[in-house]
């Protein structure tokens, strides 16, 4: 080895230093590291061989075998490390796929439950129609249709709203819960008799609200594009188009900054599903009164609402 280092502990050495001399640790370790990447032991061993002659053949053979074993181990280490890295990558993908599968399963479950609720509701209607007299039946149907508790068909308009193309980064380009609220309110004001948003029928008590970044209508998540379908009188489309809300959203649709989609189409034979029956808060199952005739009972506090 040549003279090493610029450290304070300088060692006087000739151009061919005596390799057997004990190596000294010097303070300038980093520059040493950069200049002599090879382990100094190799040079020492070579010098020792020069000095004392080659090792006995037996020792050499044993050491060669140990080297081969070490190389074998290194090879195994490399491939194992590589396999570990490769193995861990699909682990993330499987977790993701599992989550997606979970979501789909839950969604199917929810759909099945919703279908079941619908079927049960239809059954309830049937049973009730059997039980009720004809005169009160017609009245009941009308009231139910107005309240959103009965499937209705008719002509009306469909207002389609969708997020703008750059909605992912630009919040202004997103359709928010407020937008749906304003549009449905404008539709009610224009004479709509029944409204649904993406197949979710609105009742007087159906909230349209934001849950995180999603919009929830009643109990269901709805995603863009939003189809607000309304059944109403023939002049409803014109009245809606004249409202402030419609002109504001039309401006948003044309604005380069938002590019929100906003279309109003007149459509015939719309079919709006019934809303899921809300939990009854005040009505209770009538108890047979002492006189024996069942009387509908509503609690006094709920009667006025």
């Amino acid at each position: 080895m040549s003279d090493r280092g610029t450290g304070p502990v300088r060692e006087e050495r000739g151009p061919e230093p005596a390799p057997a001399a004990p190596r000294q640790w010097q303070t300038d370790m980093l520059s040493d590291l950069f200049r002599y990447p090879l382990d100094a032991g190799y040079a020492d061993a070579a010098a020792a061989r020069r000095k004392h002659g080659p090792l006995p053949a037996g020792t050499r053979r044993v050491r060669r075998i140990v080297t081969v074993v070490a190389c074998l181990i290194i090879g195994v280490l490399f491939s194992v490390a590589y396999l570990q890295v490769v193995e861990r990558a699909p682990g993330r993908a499987t977790a993701r796929a599992g989550l997606i599968r979970d979501i789909q399963q839950r969604q199917e479950h929810t759909d099945a439950l919703a279908r079941r609720a619908e079927a049960l509701q239809a059954e309830v209607f049937e049973l009730r129609e059997e039980a009720l007299a004809d005169s009160s039946l017609g009245q009941l149907r009308e009231v139910e249709a107005a309240a959103g508790m009965r499937k209705v068909t008719g002509d009306g308009v469909v207002v389609t709203m969708a997020d703008g193309p750059n909605a992912a980064g630009e919040r202004l380009a997103q359709v928010l819960d407020v937008d749906l609220q304003l549009v449905t309110n404008a539709l009610w004001a224009s004479g709509a008799e029944a409204i649904s948003v993406n197949g979710q029928r609105l009742t007087a008590a159906t909230p349209i609200r934001a849950a995180g970044s999603a919009i929830v209508v009643g109990n269901a998540h709805v995603i863009s594009p939003y189809e607000v379908a309304a059944i109403g009188p023939p002049d409803m489309a014109d009245r809606f188009n004249e409202t402030e809300t419609a002109s504001v959203y039309r401006a948003y649709a044309d604005d380069k900054q938002y590019e929100m989609r906003f279309d109003v189409d007149e459509r015939d034979d719309l079919e709006l599903p019934a809303a899921v029956m809300p939990r009854l808060r005040y009505a209770t199952v009538p108890q047979p009164s002492p006189s024996g005739s069942p009387s509908p009972s509503t609690s006094p506090s709920g009667g006025g609402k």
């Binding site: 590291l33 950069f34 200049r35 002599y36 990447p37 090879l38 382990d39 032991g41 190799y42 040079a43 020492d44 061993a45 070579a46 061989r49 050499r60 050491r63 060669r64 140990v66 080297t67 081969v68 074993v69 070490a70 190389c71 074998l72 181990i73 290194i74 090879g75 195994v76 280490l77 490399f78 491939s79 194992v80 490390a81 396999l83 570990q84």
Partner: protein, 110 residues
Amino acid sequence: MIAVLALIAGVVLGVVLNPTVPDALQPYLPIAVVAALDAVFGGVRAKLDGIFDDKQFVISFISNVLVAAFIVYLGDKLGVGSQLSIGVVVVLGVRIFGNVAAIRRRLFKA
């Protein structure tokens, strides 16, 4: 030559056997690879320089891996695991680079 064959045989063996690494040892695997690479390139360079020594090679490999693993272990216990890992990788990386540069000079005279 036989060492290179042993290295290749080791890689094949690892792929064929595909042993499962215990979770406790997994953090040390990458650093052990870097340490082993340092020993391998040091050995190749020494071979080309004509001063290869079996004992030195084996001892440098074992001590490199052990010291690197120990430093990572210590770093984990002290809460500076990633920083110390970087230190190990930098030092060994510098040595690997230097040795590869020397090998390159010797092989391509450039």
